[in-house]
Symmetry: C2
Subunit: 663 residues, 2 copies
Amino acid sequence: MPLPVPVLPEGVDPAWLPPGAFRAVGGRRTLIRGSGPLVETVHGEVAQACRRFGGRVVRDAVPDGAYDLVLGLGADGPDLLGEEGFTCAREGGTTTVTASGGRGLLYGLFHVVRLGEAAFTGERPRETHRPALALRMLDHWDNVAVHPVMGQVERGYAGGSLFWRDGRARGELDRVRAYGRLLAACGINAVSVNNVNVHAAEARLLTDRIGEVADIAGALRPYGIRTHLSVSFAAPVTLGGLPTADPLDGAVRAWWAGATRRVYEAIPDFGGYVVKADSEGQPGPFAYGRSHAEGANLLAAALEPFGGTVHWRAFVYDHRQDWRDRTTDRARAAYDHFVPLDGEFAANAVLQVKHGPMDFQVREPVSPLIGAMPRTRLAVELQATQEYTGQQRHVCWLGPMWSEVLRFPPELGLSVGELARGGLVAVPNAGDDPFWTGHPLAQANLYTFGRLAWRPDAEPRAVLDEWIGLSFPDAPPQVAEGLHAVLDGSWRTYEKYTAPLGVGFMVQPGHHYGPSVDGYEYSPWGTYHFADRDGLGVDRSVKSGTGFAGQYGKPWAELYESPDTCPDELLLFFHHVPYGHVLKSGKTVIQHIYDAHFEGVEEVEEARSVWASLAGLVDPARHARVAERYEEQLRGAREWRDQVNSYFFRKSGVPDGRGRRIY
Amino acid sequence: MPLPVPVLPEGVDPAWLPPGAFRAVGGRRTLIRGSGPLVETVHGEVAQACRRFGGRVVRDAVPDGAYDLVLGLGADGPDLLGEEGFTCAREGGTTTVTASGGRGLLYGLFHVVRLGEAAFTGERPRETHRPALALRMLDHWDNVAVHPVMGQVERGYAGGSLFWRDGRARGELDRVRAYGRLLAACGINAVSVNNVNVHAAEARLLTDRIGEVADIAGALRPYGIRTHLSVSFAAPVTLGGLPTADPLDGAVRAWWAGATRRVYEAIPDFGGYVVKADSEGQPGPFAYGRSHAEGANLLAAALEPFGGTVHWRAFVYDHRQDWRDRTTDRARAAYDHFVPLDGEFAANAVLQVKHGPMDFQVREPVSPLIGAMPRTRLAVELQATQEYTGQQRHVCWLGPMWSEVLRFPPELGLSVGELARGGLVAVPNAGDDPFWTGHPLAQANLYTFGRLAWRPDAEPRAVLDEWIGLSFPDAPPQVAEGLHAVLDGSWRTYEKYTAPLGVGFMVQPGHHYGPSVDGYEYSPWGTYHFADRDGLGVDRSVKSGTGFAGQYGKPWAELYESPDTCPDELLLFFHHVPYGHVLKSGKTVIQHIYDAHFEGVEEVEEARSVWASLAGLVDPARHARVAERYEEQLRGAREWRDQVNSYFFRKSGVPDGRGRRIY
């Protein structure tokens, strides 16, 4: 029985799967061969497209030239393709997609959808497609109960959670399934359904509330997505009533084994646990004098019999640092904590590392931890939800940033994309907002993440072309041009008008939206710029600073060590320099700050007018939402410009070389 | 029937009415004469004291020398004493208190309690006591429903509300009555029971929920306290369903008349309304193009038939100011808005003015509005809740500050205490905390407020002596010495380690606790210090600044106009000066900042050790709570010192003249 395509509630944007995206497939004669649940999903997709565009679909006949498209399980070397790979070829008027598993067939279908008419034109030599990374995951920071400070979704800028509302599962499983469908279309295959900060109500998802998770898993499964759960390391105490959560305690191990067995009874293809331990107040193994490897291996052992994985976050640092103490460096923390443990983690324990050493700033160097633990499976964590990059009120397409990170070779000659053997993970930007992501153009971030997880060396502009083609299938060419104009450079634009030269933060404390240059300067969070009347930046050199630069291998350690060789865009991350320091660009630091901030605002003004010129060419609701957000982005960019420039003018006393107005 | 004294719940501190405070009265033979509800209150008080200390009390006999104390209504010229005055004399072994009203008798009793043994020693010539101000009021900023940001009590640092919890009246009327008793003992006679920011649930107290207010009024009435209510100017729309709240609209006037009549049906001695209009988002007459006099007079007209008063707050300013615009000055706002309306307010409309032109900072000049509206009844508003003065985690006895304000002659030769013909109002610092005020020593602020409202020219140290005598009746002399040592200078100590020289703010945005020098510098709130690498302060002179100094009469306008004559402690409120500007103290501004901050911390260290030396001499629970808060105060004071000093060192580049550690 073909699985019907989920119906979106009235008014919900189709994102990158509007009906028009299926025009080419839907007008053809398609044969589907094979069996299994995901084949039924594929059948349902094709059948709906055919109903709309006049094609037809047949099941399990012999391919005989009567079909434009054959989607089939089988024949072509399962070992090579794996569960998720597929081949695609066109010969004699028939396009053939072959996969050895249901997921592969589904991904093959979406490949054909992306190709559109091109999939049915001329001949195509056989291409093999396989994901570079086996795990392409979203970690939802969704709370079950509304958190008094963080709300329903921590760092969520797209309305409420798709899964939870006011303390319970929402139960609107059609919308969950529609979400899974969007994710499958960009290649995502795993979702963790609750916040890594596990509060009291959320902790119980592991035990007596596992049924609610099973319902969500059931809705995501037809699109090839496995469900994971964030758990609290203290669960044996808080839920199990044990006196300890010590990972070496026999009763604790037995408790986790039993709890995990019951999880798998409810969700046989359960993916595993995500754990934030000893971090920002969450409990962890340090309380028992145990290492993080011992902590992770406790959960790995419980999951191992069922094929599950524990994702153990490396985001461990002192969030009660004394700002007076310039020797402690939060950037060093993950490396210092985890590198000594290399080789001690179980095979099904994945260490999940944020891409930068700090916290998802608009510009950071790549974390030196990636590449420094060759005997550990690492996953790399990105942030699609725009906590520090405009909170989905500002356009900031993160594709170029992520691509830079994924192509960066930290130390062993391998790129981050190759080193992320444990997978690529993103904190997603989606919620129950009608446009899924608050800002309609932020959909591009979620799509791009999935595609980069599939293939980390993909060209981000090509991915953006895919997204445009799918999302705006019937638009004239100037729409694609306009979208490139407003998206391609948006990350650098955002960087220009916010914290300069890699120094980071300068945001309003707590909610992190909008500028506050000194907002975190005297805080315990380890995020400082040390600006005084002479200069600014953090000295992280080995010679005179915190030594963080020495955590890198060659050539980076040497390159970052000196302000003469450090790339401009990271200068203030690694060095404290005078305002008069001359950048490689030939500008002084202070003049760069002024220029970048004026330029950033000008670029937003320009983007806003490009967008305005697309009125009438894109869906009016989408257009209006984006236009409205541009007003806020422009207001915000001006506020950033004026506050940052005024702050540094008041501190440095150096006037703008071009005499522009600074307050 | 004598009214039983309310019983405090187990564990609640007796504050300034512990049993021992009644020792002298309770050991005597007392005659009580007269009738009426408050006479029964007096009888209940004396009867309880006698039960405890072996005296006895007789009602309505003839005074014949058999009594040590006669408390009686009557004879002594009612016109002179008024409802609240009393006389006290001692002759031939009998102390006689005479009043013409029940409240006067109650205040007379508490006068005798304060005197203690001295009331029964030797001869005392007849003294007449009357309150200088007829209205001595507390405006509780208590929400009925928990506000998502502000909680149960806005700017409350003493637990929950005494009146409300989670959306309803708490109903624990014995505690409310006990609160009224404490207030009566320091002379307070009016309480507004809900926040001036009137949210949806609270708005309905005026109409269908007036019964809850009536219950509270019933509990406060036996201690001579009238109940008032904060109302929303938009009530005719939000509650009455009218299309407008225009004060000149007939239906609006009729609606208020009807609503007010129903209030008086429920609470015959209802005091009146408190209104925050056109302020920080609250609705007001500006929406209809009407003046604030027209707004206030609308409510005054509704209250007039019943003898009620409207308290109309003058706290009107632009809270969406552009920080770039240095011509707009929040300090000017109340004067600019209200002085043109002098003479237009109804006789039962009271304009309620904050004592300073900004917002309850540790140091402000007196508001120039006070004294500039001779044809308007003004009430002066103080803030006992320590929003900007340590939030009841820091000791900051405000008596000296309030006394300075009340003795200040703004312009007409009269002091603020004399000009406050409409009364003295405080935002109280009490809640359901076991110590009433969070910090046990903050009880002194509430007591001092009441006594200064009774007599604005009272010597604050003498008031503190009263409070100590009542609160610690059995303590050895070193307790009084110790309390003076830690309280007398605590306001100046707090001033020393926080924002310097009258510049104000520099607090964490939102909650206002702890330092953030730039926290409000680029905000829309109108609270700036304009520090740059050369100097700091706000130029409010007429010559070169906002002109605020010109709002004062002689001699102040002239005195404040020039940095040469402006008092040091207000220098940065009125002037932007270089760091090297030499104060009258002979120090430069920057060195003053350093010195004051180091001294402030040293003074806290000293106070903490004085308090430690009192262990064993005061109630252990009180001692422990204060000791614990001193740890937090010291931590906070050091944080203030280091952040402020570091900020100005980084900006000015001037090293400390004494070479101390600055970060």
